[in-house]
């Protein structure tokens, strides 16, 4: 709970910076604020209390996902300093990002549908503005517009689902809904099932699961690269946490009606995401499709529905988000040097910039799921969770999909090490260097000692 209050007040303080003119100090101030929030958040670990009159439940799940989001947010702020320097309205961007983070905290700790709705909207409305923050760039405009229309459309489905569930159970509270459904087995009105499926559609839009993924590549490609990094890491983590929390608290006793739907969606997402990623020439768009594919892996844990699901999703989001921040950081540096984001831009990078090429290799190996990186164990836990629950067919689809994934990740590695290209030595800024070192250490450390995270939930 303290994390939510701190992030919101941090956002309000950054807005005041414009008036009291301490803009120069804002960047270090926000970084320190995030670290402080992270530390204070950890003190809530064993409190496990219901707050705001039963609107939110700050349990282990919430603290763990909030910590993941804060870690990734810290790395993200480090990599995107120039985004805040280039723009004229710096304070607005800072506060929008911080309010978006407050939204994600609500999304991981809600225990009432009202808070789910508000959390999603606080996050989304900030993201619409950030996606369109390059005002003169038509790509950014288009991205913001599509994101807004698709986001509002998805919210409509989500709300219709909430309404139907309210109509049939008389409550917005997750635990009360579960009690109602469990005690009225067999006599639950039909509109309840319709509501569950509508909420599933709404949330699938938000996590960009196929067949509701079509907006994601456009939005991710058009938005400024740092915002794309934010959307494909923090927003995705929060959306999956909300997905898990909702379906495991409220709808677990009617799992027979949604598990098969999610099964099909997971398989479709894995195949569509990975196969389409192979066909892309733009690296940014390729990463967008790979982000869709990673949503597919996480859906596997949702299908499995046993006690390991949440911890495997936690590990997966952490490994994937850290890897993605590294990839987007390097993509941004390379695009800055070469001017475009085709795979050819990476040709010969290893000869002139061995450090960049090495970090890129580590994070891409992690995204592809090759040991000893974090991504391997992330996939391993997800697959064993699904396997133990008896979904062998789906695991098989996922393994084939991740083999396809290896192909397009390795295309960049091969371009860096074995292709000839003209690259000059790129001098790295201190903070970019710091992000890349932290990302590399985290990726390898999580790969070597995965038990630390997996035993937490």
């Amino acid at each position: 709970m303290t994390a939510l209050i701190l992030l919101t007040s941090l956002g309000v303080i950054t807005l005041l910076a414009e008036i009291f003119s301490f803009k120069k100090l804002l960047y270090p101030f926000v970084l320190v604020g995030l670290v402080a929030t992270f530390v204070i958040n950890l003190f809530d670990w064993n409190l496990s209390r219901t707050i705001f009159y039963g609107m939110m439940q700050y349990d282990h799940f919430a603290v763990a996902f909030t910590s993941v989001i804060l870690i990734v947010a810290f790395l993200w702020f480090l990599m995107s300093d120039s985004f805040f320097k280039e723009e004229t309205s710096v304070t607005d961007h800072f506060s929008l990002v911080l309010f978006a983070l407050a939204g994600t905290v609500i999304m991981v700790s809600f225990s009432n549908m009202t808070m789910l709705f508000l959390g999603i909207e606080i996050l989304s409305i900030s993201m619409y503005i950030l996606a369109g923050s390059k005002k003169d760039d038509l790509g950014s405009n288009e991205s913001a517009f599509k994101y807004l229309i698709m986001g509002a459309f998805a919210t409509g489905f989500l709300l219709f689902g909430i309404t139907l569930i309210y109509g049939s159970t008389g409550s917005f509270d997750l635990a009360e809904i579960n009690t109602f459904v469990a005690s009225h087995k067999g006599s639950v009105p039909m509109i309840f099932y319709a509501g569950v499926l509508l909420m599933l559609v709404g949330l699938s839009f938000k996590v960009s699961a196929a067949p509701f993924h079509f907006w994601a590549p456009d939005v991710y490609q058009g938005a400024p690269t740092v915002i794309t990094a934010f959307m494909s890491t923090i927003v995705k983590t929060a959306a999956f946490a909300a997905f898990l929390r909702l379906f495991y608290t409220s709808f677990i006793s009617v799992s027979e009606i949604w598990v098969s739907v999610v099964w099909v969606m997971a398989a479709l997402t894995l195949l569509v995401g990975n196969v389409t990623a192979v066909l892309q020439t733009s690296t940014k768009r390729m990463l967008a499709y790979s982000s869709v594919a990673h949503a597919g892996y996480m859906l596997l844990a949702l299908v499995a529905g046993n006690i390991y699901s949440s911890s495997s999703v936690l590990f997966y989001t952490l490994a994937y988000s850290i890897g993605s921040v590294g990839t987007f950081c390097i993509l941004r540096i390379v695009v800055g040097a070469k001017g475009n984001d085709n795979t050819e831009s990476f040709n010969g990078l290893a000869k002139t910039n061995p450090f960049l090429a090495f970090v890129m290799t580590v994070v891409l190996l992690s995204l592809a799921g090759i040991p000893p990186t974090a991504g391997f164990f992330a996939k391993y836990y997800i697959f064993t969770t699904a396997f133990q629950a008896g979904y062998t067919g789906l695991v098989l689809v996922a393994i084939i999909a991740s083999l396809i994934g290896v192909y397009y990740y390795f295309r960049i590695i091969i371009a860096m090490y074995f292709r000839e290209g003209s690259h000059h030595l790129i001098t790295l800024q201190f903070n970019h260097k710091l992000v890349l070192i932290l990302v590399t250490i985290a990726t390898i450390a999580l790969g070597l000692f995965p038990d630390f995270i997996i035993g937490m939930l």
Partner: protein, 105 residues
């Protein structure tokens, strides 16, 4: 019996579903950005109507409170949406969404 309950609940359900569907079809098939916004609003208002009907039938005020949240958020969303639309219009001089084809679908 209050005024809302003169009509059976199923009729409210039917009306809201029809309004919601009209909104969905509007978003999917209309090409003008403003009309798309209107369709989104129609979807949200269909939901509000249904929430109020349920709330009255269940004699429970939570549903009506939720309607306020939806209204507030919808207002915020439209404010941001129209700002984005203005930004697009300044660059393209059009509110037709077919001009937004720089990124392939």
């Amino acid at each position: 019996m209050n005024a809302i309950e003169v009509i059976p609940l199923n009729w409210y359900l039917l009306l809201s579903t029809v309004l919601f569907t009209i909104g969905v079809l509007g978003v999917l098939f209309r090409r003008n950005a403003i009309i798309i916004f209107m369709s989104v609003e129609l979807m949200l208002n269909a939901i509000n109507l249904l929430l109020v009907a349920f709330s009255s039938y269940l004699s429970d005020s939570k549903g009506q409170v939720f309607v306020f949240f939806i209204m507030a958020v919808a207002a915020a969303e439209v404010a941001v949406g129209l700002a984005i639309l203005m930004m697009v219009y300044r660059n393209t001089k059009s509110s037709d969404i077919n001009v937004l084809n720089k990124l392939k679908w």
